[in-house]
Symmetry: C2
Subunit: 437 residues, 2 copies
């Protein structure tokens, strides 16, 4: 047997009892955690590799529960303009998005996420196989959903053609140890009832997740209210597609009846605080959902909305926005917020049996946070230090599925300067196209 060990740090397990182990160690065999506890347990093993956390925090990697990583190619484009999606994004996507843009954008975003301590991300876009390949090559865990929409799309000549592409994606990637393929009906309002039901059936049959934008837009709420006298969540329940395969992104607009349905059907919710705030949307009732037992994780959304793929930054934002919203500084404790980024995020994407906490038997998705920095010292409370003090740049080590993907801020699974250059080249073409618009 060959064992690895991460030691000399404070282990934030994020397990159910919130155990914190000072002078802790995590023992890894292959892709799994086989032991963790006080450093004393290290005496029982011979290690092929020992990773010194140098007094930092050893914790599970962060879960980015919703995004469109390849949209990094559009980052900072058309800011501060009303209808920026209609005016800039959709026309540019129609004219330009291709396999190459999706692949290069995904590589940039995955690099950013690995450097920021994200070890699992959930993505939905076009040409999604390119995202899957990029993630696989870079050693990143991902749920990748091919977009299904009721109109022509960059990779679809016909409405709902995405179902066919999604099936091919699932066929190709099912059973992979890093990549989980998925169906991604774009939104409640851009897929009709028959197709939502069909997608639901396929997901059950093939045992894959369904990713969808739910209760995100004001016009979505108005439409469902007007046409069905139901909220979007109630409508999804009504047509029978709420279940534990569904990962619902955003859920900005929701009430008590919605909370009850989401909890009852074990739907995962991914809250995108940064993107929603920047868009001036109402505040999602996250604290209320959590109290009602809804599993709510965090997502960055795409880098044109977010604008980063930084889950550590979301911790701070969700805490502050919920405290503002409820006018109460005790709403969402720092520990609860770190849970949203880790174990609760894993529950929201229905992967908590495998990732989200450091526990024996779980996959070894582990990061180290260096705490010897002027913005992080002193520490009276580790959770608060992470939520209100830490930056992606404080992550100094990342292991995914037992493999080290970043060490001492160096990405080990991709050529970062080349990745950046490739996207800069693409951005020049986008700028040229914008001159024509």
């Amino acid at each position: 047997m060959s064992y690895k060990c991460i030691y000399n740090g404070v282990v934030l397990t994020m397990n159910a009892s919130g155990e914190i182990i000072e002078n802790g160690a995590v023992v890894i065999e292959g892709a799994r955690i086989v032991a963790l506890g006080n450093e004393a347990l290290m005496g029982g093993y011979e290690f092929e590799e020992m990773i010194d956390a140098r007094g930092g925090i050893i914790m599970p990697g962060f879960i980015n529960g919703h995004g469109h990583v390849s949209m990094s190619v559009f980052r900072t484009l058309g800011e501060d303009v009303p209808n920026r999606l209609q005016r800039f994004l959709f026309p540019l996507e129609d004219r330009l998005i291709c396999e190459n843009y999706v692949r290069k954008g995904a590589m940039l975003g995955i690099a950013e996420m690995i450097l920021g301590g994200v070890t699992t991300f959930v993505d939905m876009y076009y040409f999604e196989d390119e995202v899957a390949k990029a993630a696989k090559e870079m050693g990143m865990r991902a749920i990748v959903g091919e977009t299904i929409i009721d109109r022509i799309a960059p990779d679809a000549q016909l409405p709902y053609e995405g179902i066919m592409h999604a099936k091919a994606l699932i066929e190709k990637w099912r059973g992979d140890d890093l990549i989980t393929p998925a169906l991604a009906p774009h939104a409640t309002y851009s897929n009709d009832e028959a197709h939502l039901k069909e997608i639901c059936e396929i997901s059950k049959e093939l045992d894959v997740p369904v990713l969808m934008h739910v209760s995100e837009m004001a016009y979505e709420i108005s439409k469902f209210r007007e046409v069905y006298q139901l909220s979007p969540v109630q409508y999804l329940d009504h047509i029978g597609v709420l279940n534990n395969k569904l990962i619902a992104a955003h859920v900005v607009y929701a009430d008590e009846a919605d909370f009850a349905l989401l909890a009852k059907h074990d739907v995962g919710v991914v809250h995108c605080v940064a993107a929603n705030a920047k868009s001036g949307r109402p505040v999602s009732p996250v604290n209320e959902m959590l109290k009602r037992g809804v599993k709510v994780g965090l997502g960055t959304d795409g880098p044109m909305s977010g604008n980063t793929l930084d889950v550590i930054g979301l911790l701070d934002q969700v805490a502050k926005v919920q405290k503002i919203n409820e006018k109460d500084n005790t709403v969402l404790t720092a520990r609860e917020v770190v849970e949203m980024g880790t174990i609760l995020g894993a529950k929201a994407i229905h992967m908590d049996a495998k990732v989200g906490s450091l526990e024996v038997g779980k996959l070894a998705d582990v990061i180290i946070i260096d705490t010897i920095a002027p913005h992080l010292q002193p520490i009276y409370d580790y959770y608060s230090a992470l939520v209100y003090g830490a930056y992606p740049q404080d992550v100094v080590f990342s292991m995914i599925h037992g493999k080290t993907v970043m060490q001492d801020r160096k990405l080990l699974t991709g050529d970062l300067p080349q990745i950046i250059k490739a996207v800069q080249k693409i951005s020049k073409k986008i700028k040229a196209e914008m001159v024509e618009m």
Copy 2:
């Protein structure tokens, strides 16, 4: 004559016309900027030092308009607890705060700020001479205000004794090229009318700023409403102490009448979005104040409230919180937000004749932001990249008053490991004291 030059970058001047100079250069002689423009201008000089910005952003350093930097020793203490100030902070301050704590805490905070691109900070606390000395030693520009309060304080055996200490501080530091001494009456509700008037007279006579917490607390608003039938701002106007020496921190609660008074009397306002949000306070009407011509800058507040001293992080927060508050994504453009952190922040602390923008004749407080990073590429809009994408760690160079204080993320004016160790030692004592409480 001996000249320095910062070149090979995009110069964000932050001047009145918002000029951006690609392939720009800034020429410095002594403490001042003597030329800036296209790199072609470099031909006219011989340089003793040339600083290569490597394609990054060259811009004025950030202004941190309000804080209590030495409170870094309490960072992450007593989080998520109601009445944390009364329960933990005030008793700990009474028992422990001394010259040594203030000095070591200040050094840690100043190190953090220099590493984060802050080149001027405004501080009010006890034993403020220690903050002044630490800033001076570390080459940092600061306005330092000795706290004046109507009760016994860590450095005052009698109420209002702070006036005496403030006079001594002013006597000692007036005319210094980095340190501006100030009077800091703690708040509208903790200084009586006679003393506020006296402080105002001293500030005019000695030509120094006055720093005060204004319209921050719900109980403050209730008190002034009940006793005087006035808002705190109206009260300050009524007693004749609103003027262009005053730097009012927070101003969370304010209405049209207050906006008009603040604008008319040229009062500087420092908005502390991070601290206010974390405290669950109402959202300050920042966008409204700006529209009415009030000069509003940004402040971190103390690191027990904030919890960092990161002005770049405030850019993102103020933009998002104002967009949420007004339910409009076009509120506060990215350019306006960067102005709040630079030239408008300088106006709010009445130092815009000297700092806040890169212009000929101004003091050379200049930073470089490295943009070749996966979270910052591509860039279609420099302001948006800074507001929504940048981190303190992207600042790779800082010059204050013509002197390089940080280069390639290395603090040049202090021994960072020693500074951190000193505060860790203090935090052990604070932890021990808490066990007794």
